[in-house]
Symmetry: C2
C-alpha cells in the first residue's frame, strides 16, 4: 500500500459512517495536499464542503475529522501531532484543536492521513484500525470508565500493548460541552468540545496500530533537520525540558500576565507554589515526550494520599497550572495535579474547566450564586477542595456541575443577574491562560480566532518578548524590529498577521511550535518528506488559507465582525501591579481589528476574505459556500 513516490503522505483518507457501520476511502492528489496540507486547512475543506449551515453540533449531521499533516510521523521532533475538527458545541461554529502523543504517527503508519467520522452509532462503539483493516467494536463495557482503564482494556482485548488509543472519557459521554479527546491518555485535543461531539456519536475510542513504513522523498534532508534539533535542544529548549511549559510562571507573574481569580488580576500571591520549578522539586517523578521528540516537555507527577495522583495521567502543563491554579486562586500544587488527573481521566479541557469554576467562584463571591446553588460548597477563590469537587460534578453533570458543563456563556445566560460579565469567553469558548492586557496583539487573536478564544492558532513569543531567537527568526518574514508587548499600532497588526498565518500553517502541518526550527528548516522538512519544492511563501499561504476556510465556516453560521470582540474586563485596568497604569483601549483594539481585516483582505462587515482574496488563496469555491449563509 505504501506509495513511495508520494513522500511523507499517503493520500488516503478513511471515511467512517457510524450510523450504518460502513467505511470508505477518499483519495486525494498532490494538488489537494499542497493546498490543504492537513490539520486546520484539511478540516476546513471537508467541513465547508460537507456540513450544512445550522446543523446541531451534537447531532448525527456533524462530522468529526482527525487529521495529520504531510510531515506527521517523519522522524523529526514536532511531527507527532494531529488535529481534530468539527462544528463546535461550544461556539456553534468552527472548531479545531491539536494534540501530540504517539497516536498520530501510528495512524500515519497505518496508512491514513485522516479519518472522517460521520453519523451516530446507536450504542457505544470503538474503532479498531489495524493498517487497512477497520473494525467497529462494542464499547459498552468501556462506557463510563476512566481513560486509563479504558485504554488498558482495549490494549488487552486487542492483545497488543502497542495499540495507540485516542478516546473520550465520561465527560465526552455526558456531552460536557468542553469535553476533550485524548491521545495516549495525556495528550488532549482540549479546545472546542470535540469530546462531546465524539460522545454524541457514541464513539468512545479509536484504537490504531500501523505496520507500514512512512515513505520519505528525501530521508537525508529530513534527518538533517531532525539532527539539528537533537544537537541543539539541550541549549535552546533547556527550560522546557527541565520545568515543562510552566517554567515561566514567575516571569508571567512578575509581568502581571498570570491570569488570576477569573482574570480580575494579573498577579497571584501564591504563584511560586504552583510554578514549574516547584513542581520539579516536589511532585515530579518523570518527564515524557511526543513521538520523535527529545525535548520531553511533558510531566509525570505522583502525589500520595489523600490526593493519590497517578503518574500515568501525566502532570499539569502551564495552561492547567494557571486555569486550575491562579485562575481559581488555588496555590495548592497537589490539588492542581489532582485536578489535572481528573480532567485527563474524565476527558475534559482543563482550560475551559478552570474557567467555568473560576467564573462560578466569582459569581459566588459576588452573591450571584449562593450555597443553595452549589449544594453547600463554599465556592470561593482559593478553595482547592471546591475546585476538585466541581471538576467531578461537571464531568458527572451533577448539580451546579450540570450547568457549568454547558460552558460559561450558556451557564451565565441561565444564571442571569449580570453573570455574563464574568464569563470570560469569546464566541462561547473560554479564554486560555494568556492575558491580552500584557500582550495586546493576542487580543486581536482572541477576537478574530474562528475557534473562539484560543492561543494555539494565535499566540507567538514575539507578542511578548522584545528580543531573542523568536524575533531574530522573524526577520525571515521581513519583521525586522521587536515591538512593545503593549503596542497596538498597525505595525503590530502586521507582525500579528504574519505570525498568525504561520501559526495556522503549523496547525496544518500539524507540527508542534516548541522545537525552535526556523521557517526555512520547516520548509526543508516538508521538501524532505514530500519531494515537493515548497517555499516559506507557499507554507505561509497554506496558513492564511486555513484561517480563511475557518472564517468562512463561521460566516456561514451567521458570525460577523460584531462577534469579534473581547470580554469587557480586558478594557479595565488592573488594580495593582506593573500594568496598573496601562489600559487596553477598547477603541484602539477595535481599530486594530479593523486594520487587520483590511490588511488581510477581509470584508469589514462580514469579516471574511473578499472574493478576490479567496481567489488569491486558491479557494475561489468558498465564495459560493458563503452565499449559503443567507
Amino acid at each position: 500500500m505504501t506509495e513511495l513516490s508520494r513522500g511523507g503522505y499517503t493520500g488516503k483518507i478513511l471515511r467512517v459512517n457510524l450510523t450504518d457501520k460502513t467505511t470508505s476511502i477518499d483519495e486525494q492528489d498532490e494538488k489537494f495536499y499542497r493546498r490543504y496540507f492537513g490539520g486546520t486547512a484539511l478540516i476546513g475543506y471537508y467541513l465547508l464542503k460537507e456540513l450544512k449551515p445550522g446543523i446541531d453540533p451534537l447531532g448525527p449531521d456533524n462530522k468529526l475529522i482527525f487529521t495529520s499533516g504531510v510531515i506527521t510521523g517523519t522522524p523529526c521532533a514536532g511531527s507527532g501531532r494531529s488535529g481534530v475538527g468539527s462544528k463546535s458545541p461550544l461556539t456553534n461554529g468552527w472548531g479545531d484543536s491539536q494534540a501530540g502523543g504517539f497516536w498520530p504517527a501510528e495512524l500515519k503508519r497505518a496508512g491514513w492521513d485522516a479519518i472522517i467520522i460521520e453519523g451516530k452509532s446507536d450504542k457505544p462503539v470503538y474503532l479498531w484500525i489495524n493498517d487497512d483493516k477497520v473494525e467497529f467494536r462494542d464499547a459498552s463495557h468501556l462506557w463510563g470508565k476512566a481513560t486509563l482503564e479504558a485504554e488498558q482494556q482495549i490494549q488487552t482485548e486487542l492483545d497488543d500493548k502497542r495499540v495507540r488509543v485516542a478516546q473520550i472519557g465520561p465527560a465526552g459521554e455526558n456531552l460536557v460541552r468542553f469535553a476533550s479527546i485524548c491521545n495516549d491518555i495525556t495528550h488532549a485535543y482540549g479546545r472546542n468540545g470535540h469530546g462531546a461531539v465524539m460522545g454524541s456519536k457514541m464513539l468512545r475510542a479509536i484504537a490504531v496500530r500501523g505496520h507500514k513504513g512512512l515513505p520519505l522523498a528525501n530521508p537525508e534532508k529530513v534527518r538533517e533537520v531532525a539532527k539539528w534539533l537533537v544537537d541543539n535542544y539541550k541549549t535552546l529548549s533547556e527550560g522546557l525540558t527541565k520545568h515543562g511549559t510552566s517554567g515561566g510562571v514567575a516571569m508571567l507573574n512578575e509581568a502581571s500576565i498570570l491570569p488570576t481569580r477569573n482574570f480580575q488580576e494579573g498577579q497571584f500571591d501564591g504563584y511560586n507554589d504552583i510554578a514549574g520549578p516547584t513542581m520539579t522539586d516536589t511532585i515530579l517523578v518523570g518527564r515524557d515526550n511526543c513521538y520523535a521528540c527529545p525535548i520531553d516537555c511533558k510531566r509525570e507527577v505522583e502525589v500520595g494520599a489523600p490526593y493519590n495522583v497517578n503518574r500515568k495521567y501525566g502532570g499539569p502543563e502551564y495552561e492547567t497550572i494557571a486555569s486550575l491554579g491562579s485562575l481559581c486562586g488555588v496555590n495548592d500544587l497537589k490539588a492542581v495535579a489532582k485536578g489535572n488527573e481528573i480532567c485527563n481521566a474524565q476527558g475534559m479541557d482543563t482550560i475551559a474547566a478552570g474557567n467555568c469554576i473560576a467564573f462560578a467562584m466569582e459569581c459566588f463571591e459576588r452573591g450571584i450564586l449562593t450555597k443553595e446553588d452549589t449544594d453547600g460548597v463554599e465556592l470561593k477563590f482559593g478553595n482547592a477542595e471546591a475546585m476538585m469537587l466541581m471538576l467531578e460534578k461537571i464531568t458527572k453533570r451533577e448539580g451546579l456541575g450540570n450547568l457549568l458543563a454547558e460552558g460559561t456563556k450558556r451557564a451565565a445566560e441561565q444564571i442571569g443577574h449580570g453573570a455574563s460579565e464574568y464569563a470570560m469567553q469569546i464566541k462561547g469558548q473560554e479564554l486560555p491562560m494568556h492575558e491580552p492586557r500584557g500582550k495586546v496583539a493576542l487580543g486581536i487573536g482572541y477576537a478574530i480566532s474562528p475557534t473562539g478564544a484560543d492561543h494555539v492558532h494565535n499566540m507567538h513569543d514575539s507578542m511578548f518578548a522584545v528580543e531573542g531567537p523568536p524575533l531574530e527568526g522573524l526577520k525571515a518574514l521581513g519583521i525586522q524590529e521587536p515591538l512593545s508587548p503593549l503596542d497596538l499600532s498597525p505595525a503590530k497588526v502586521r507582525m500579528f498577521k504574519y505570525v498568525v498565518d504561520w501559526r495556522h500553517f503549523q496547525n496544518c502541518a500539524v507540527i508542534c511550535g516548541f522545537p525552535p526550527f526556523s521557517y526555512e528548516q520547516i520548509s526543508d522538512l516538508v521538501n524532505g518528506a514530500t519531494g515537493w519544492n515548497t517555499s516559506v511563501w507557499e507554507l505561509m499561504k497554506v496558513g492564511e488559507r486555513a484561517l480563511a476556510l475557518a472564517r468562512a465556516f463561521n460566516a456561514r453560521e451567521g458570525y460577523t465582525a460584531k462577534d469579534d470582540i473581547l470580554p469587557e474586563r480586558f478594557y479595565q485596568s488592573f488594580s495593582s501591579g506593573p500594568l496598573m497604569d496601562e489600559k487596553l483601549g477598547k477603541e484602539d483594539m477595535q481599530k486594530a481589528i479593523k486594520t487587520y481585516y483590511k490588511m488581510a483582505g477581509w470584508d469589514p462587515e462580514l469579516a471574511v476574505p473578499t472574493a478576490e482574496k479567496l481567489e488569491e488563496l486558491d479557494i475561489a469555491w468558498v465564495t459560493e459556500e458563503l452565499e449559503k449563509s443567507a
Copy 2:
C-alpha cells in the same frame, strides 16, 4: 574599507551633485537593505523621499539613481546587473530600467551599492570613480561621439583598459526621450528614457574601477548555487546560448504573437529571415556574456559593406529583432543588425525607436504623414533603408526624427488626424515586443506597470507556456496548474500577481531572469551573500514593496486607475492566423485589472496600495507621501 561582517553589500551609497561638483556618502543599515534591497525598491525609496511631485524630468531637480542589489557582484550567474531610475521624460512618472554587463560588478568592487546623481552640470562631464576616489572630469571632447569611441577615449585617458564605462550617446545628449544608458557599450538600460535624463544633466559617462574584494557571508553557499548553474546551463539554457534571445522567433510567429507592422498583425511572412537560427548561420561571429555568467546569451555580429556593422556593438537581441524587424515589416537581418549598431552607438532604446518608426510607417501608409513630412522618404513597412535612416534622424533630431524623438505619444498628439490610435504606447512608453492578445496576463502587466508598457517587470514564461520548468517552479509559490495563455480569469490574475511580485524582486536583487534558478536557490544566494536568514516570503514582499513604491510615485504625479489602459488595437482581432477567432475582451481586461487591484490591496480608484497594505509592506511612511499628490 571592506566590511566583512556586512556580507555582499557594502552599505555605502555615493551621492554626486553635478551642480556644485560635490560628493557625499549615504550609509544605510541592514534594515534598510532588507526592506529596499537595491534596484527598483531602493530607487523607489529615494525618488519618493527626494523628488517633489511635478518636477521637470529633464530639469536639474530630477535625480538619476544607479543601483545594484545586495547580491550584485557575487560570483554567480545573473548577479551582474544594475538598475537605473529617475522620473521618466517619456511618462512624466516612474522610470526604472535594468542592464547587465560588467560595469555593475565593477561598481560594487569599488565599494558602492548605488550612485545618486543630482543637479545639472553646466558643461559636459564624466565621473571617474576609482574605489573611494571620485573625480569630475571634462567630457567636452566626448560630446557627440559614438559610444565605442567615447569608451575607448576614456580608457585611454585613464590609462586603464579595465575601466568600465556606463554612458549615454548622442541620443541622450540630444534629449531623445527614449535615449538609453549603456554599460560596456552593448548592455542598455533601454526603457524610460534615462539617457535623456543623464543628457539633461550633461553627464556623459560614469567610469568605474574597483579593487576591493566583495565580502561574502557564506562563500560556500554562494558557490553551491553558482556551481549548479555552471553544471546545468548547457542543458537548461541551450537555446539561449546557441541562438540568443531571438531563438524563439519562429515559435512566436507560429503562435501569432510576433509583433508585426506596428502590432497590426501577429505573424510576419519574413520571420525566418530575422530569426535567431538565421543569425547564427549567417552574421554571428561571437557570443558574449555578463559578469560571472556562462550562458552567453549576448550576440556579436559582423556585416560587411554597405552596412559595415562592427561586432564591438554586439548584435540584436529579440526585442531589437522584432522592433526594428517585424514591427517595421523589415525582413533584412543585416539592416536590423545595422539598426542595432546605430542604437547602441547613439544610445537609444531599440524598442521605442522601432515603435516610433513603425508608428510613422503606419501613419505614412494611412496618409496621415506624407513625403513632405518625411523629407521625401518612402516611409513604408518593409523599407529597411528608411528604418535605418529614421534611426539616424531621430538621434540627430532631424526633420521627422525630431518629432519622433519625443516618443509616439507626443508625436501623435502633434501630428493629429487620429494618429494617436496608432501610437502603441502606455503612459507614454512604447510597447515591448510581446503581444498581449496571445498572452493576456501580460496585458494586465502592461496596464498596471508604473513604467508604462514594459515587459521586464511583468512578463513570465508561465503567461505563455502551459508546461515545462517555469510552471514546475511556480509550485513553490503555490501555483499548481498551468493556465491557458488566453485565460483572464481571477485564477490567472493570481498567477500574474505572484510572478509580477517576483519579477519586481528580481529587479531589486538586481538579478537576471535568464539563469533558471529556483526561488529557493535565489533565497540561498541572498543568504550566502549577506548572512541573513531570508526566505522566499521576505523576497516576494520586497518585490511587492517595490511595485507599491513605484505606484505611489505615479499617484503623486497624478496617475490613477484611469491610466491603467491598453491601446485599443489590442481589443481588435487579427485578420488572419491562429488567434484570428480569438478576441481580447475590453471588459474582461478591465475586470481583470480591477480584480488585480483588489487582490493586491489597492484602492480601486487611485490604484495604489491602501494605507493598510502599505503598513503590511512595512512602508507606512508612503501614506504621507501620497497626500502630497493633491
